[in-house]
């Protein structure tokens, strides 16, 4: 006997609906605890500088000041979020050591009885900084003599010893030589801030040798495990409570507020609240990377793309966070949903002195799609086809080998375009209407 479907096909009230419309939903920063302290951050006013000294004497005299934390207080100060999945090296600092690499980098955490006292003490910390030359452009950062951002001597993330993530299929140069047209383009995008309506934040509460952390992270166990590594305490002493996120869009997967708030709770024995101001959210939290993508395509007179060369640079900012992963994902998608027999992709994760960048909705792929689809229109123009025809002609099908050696088995580009054409009232040719993503009669188109 099968039970009737109670949910599928019907609208169901969301479990959090009444909480949201009555304001009873508890967001992380809606909580308060007796004796709760407030943490505010002293941040670098410079894009790149050597840290010569930190003078706390005036700050310590602010009424309500409780304590300051510097790099020396953090048990495992150099970390990388993705070490959890084996990404190396550790290269970001919970609190800056001898160098700051972006404007807004955290240097000293101030803990005080009230938010106002914390802000006043932050303003009274004297930093002795020696400004260093900074670099803000991905290609400038790769030139000889550019200021070096990382601690290993060049400005790229290294993929198994290579300065970029590489994908190779066939022979692009040979195919360019026999192509009827070469179409080249360069595509740039700006950094984009997620701007969640609720800013990033958490409250860490000491509870009998354990710490309960109320947080609005999108990645609870990333936060817990990284906090465990940074504070060198076993995970069973950390109890993270989350799940209510006032907007994230990828911007709340970095592990920035929990480790330092938990450390402050450890050092003071009191609950500690660390919540970003709106300006910190805008100026310090990760953004989507700025990208520069060079495309070079070899095309036959009838519109078939026979070679595609992609050189991509993502501006990771001063630290890599989730961006190395973005470039890997990018490299797997940078040729687009097209059957192209010769492909070469070099995808660089570049360090600059800008604020670090990280996850944001489809990161690695979104900007590739933007570049590729503008490029497709330009190819169509070059060979005298309409934008629909160029895509039907080159669309990948099930059974095609993708450049990174994955067999396509879930291709739906053709069907999606057919549905889109119907929706916008565009008339397709009989041939286009008859096409499907089913495997080609002769198997993979080859030419390789």
């Amino acid at each position: 006997m099968t039970a009737p479907l109670e949910v599928v096909g019907r609208s169901v009230e969301r479990s959090d609906a009444v909480g949201h419309v009555t304001g009873r939903t508890r967001f992380a920063a809606d909580r308060a605890f007796p004796g709760m302290l407030h943490l505010k951050m002293v941040r670098s006013p410079l894009h790149h500088a050597r840290v010569r000294g930190i003078d706390l004497s005036e700050a310590e005299r602010v009424p309500g000041f409780v304590r300051a934390l510097t790099a020396a207080d953090v048990p495992h100060n150099r970390y990388t979020i993705l070490s959890l999945i084996g990404v190396e090296p550790e290269e970001e600092f919970v609190l800056a050591e001898d160098r700051v690499r972006f404007k807004g980098e955290a240097i000293v955490a101030i803990v005080a009885e009230t938010e106002e006292a914390a802000m006043e003490a932050v303003a009274k910390v004297r930093l002795d900084l020696d400004e260093l030359p900074a670099v803000f452009d991905v290609e400038e950062a790769l030139k000889p003599g550019a200021p070096i951002v990382t601690h290993w001597g060049n400005n790229t993330f290294m993929y198994e010893g290579h300065p970029c993530r590489r994908v190779r299929l066939g022979d692009v140069e040979a195919a360019f030589a026999r192509a009827d047209h070469i179409v080249e383009g360069v595509y740039n995008s700006s950094p984009i801030e997620h701007a969640p309506l609720e800013t990033t934040g958490c409250i860490a509460v000491p509870e009998g040798g354990r710490f309960t952390v109320y947080t609005n992270t999108q990645a609870l166990y990333f936060s817990l495990d990284n906090t465990s590594i940074i504070l060198q305490v076993p995970g069973n002493r950390l109890h993270f409570i989350g799940g209510t996120v006032g907007g994230g869009f990828g911007g709340k997967v970095d592990v920035i507020v929990e480790p330092i708030a938990t450390l402050a709770a450890m050092k003071t024995g009191r609950p500690v609240r660390f919540v970003y101001s709106r300006s910190e959210e805008m100026q310090v939290s990760s953004t989507r990377s700025a990208w520069r993508i060079y495309l070079k395509d070899g095309v036959t007179a009838d519109g078939r793309i026979i070679a595609r060369k992609v050189t991509s640079y993502a501006d990771s900012g001063a630290y890599s966070r989730q961006t190395p992963y973005a470039l890997t994902k990018h490299a797997a998608n940078a040729a687009g949903p097209y059957a192209i027999p010769n492909v070469s992709i070099d995808a660089y994760c570049v360090y600059t002195n800008r604020q670090p960048t990280s996850a944001m909705r489809g990161f690695g792929v979104t900007m590739a799609s933007f570049a590729l689809e503008v490029q497709m229109d330009r190819i169509a123009e070059t060979v005298g086809l309409d934008p629909w025809s160029i895509r039907f002609l080159n669309a990948y099908r099930n059974g095609d080998m993708k450049p990174h050696r994955k067999l396509a088995d879930d291709a739906t580009l053709i069907e999606t375009m057919q549905a889109a054409a119907a929706l916008v009232g565009h008339e397709l040719t009989a041939e286009q209407q008859a096409m499907t993503s089913a495997p080609r009669a002769g198997g993979d188109p080859g030419g390789r």
Binding site: S11, E13, R14, D16, A17, V18, G19, H20, V21, T22, G23, R24, T25, R26, F27, A29, D30, A32, A195, P196, L197, E198, T199, V245, G246, G247, G248, F249, S277, R278
Partner: protein
């Protein structure tokens, strides 16, 4: 400067608070009175998540010095919510799925209530104008507009299907 005592009406009750200079209504509500339905998205008048009604007018509580509220009538989402069930505006937000993360929702509900008090059957332009100061990063606003239309119908006694 010394702290002062400020008295105002909150949800029909008189409240008295001891405040330091520069304290905002938002801070009094959230930090002294534990009324955290009023949200805290920016503290600079930019997002509307802290919207409350003062003498029936929607205002950004993060920009209101508490002294300016002395003797006035403040309505928050806590005071709008009936003891049982939901206010028609709240119900309309539930029915229209007028939120994703929910962080803008308290401000949106207060704003919608004020709008409908002034104009029980607002047209699209009036709704758009009323929403101009309140940001939603998630929904794209459409379901919020639908919820306001829906509430307008429900409150005038004849339920109208929102136009999609």
């Amino acid at each position: 400067m010394a702290s002062t005592i400020v008295t105002f009406e909150l949800g029909g009750r008189e409240v008295e608070v001891l405040v330091r200079p520069m304290t905002t209504l938002q801070s009094v509500l959230r930090n002294q009175l534990g009324q955290t339905a009023t949200k805290d998205g920016c503290r600079q008048g930019g997002c509307g998540s802290c919207t409350v009604l003062v003498d029936g007018e929607p205002m950004a509580s993060c920009l209101l010095p508490i002294e300016d509220v002395a003797g006035r009538r403040v309505t928050t989402l806590e005071s709008l919510t009936p003891a049982e069930g939901l206010h028609p505006v709240q119900q309309a937000f539930v029915d229209e799925y007028a939120f994703q993360c929910g962080y803008c929702t308290p401000g949106m509900v207060m704003l919608s209530k004020a709008l409908l008090d002034h104009d029980p059957a607002p047209n699209d332009e009036a709704i758009g104008q009323a929403l101009a100061g309140n940001l939603c990063r998630c929904t794209g606003y459409r379901p919020i507009v639908d919820a306001i239309r829906h509430a307008s119908g429900a409150m005038s006694g004849h339920d109208t299907e929102p136009v999609r």
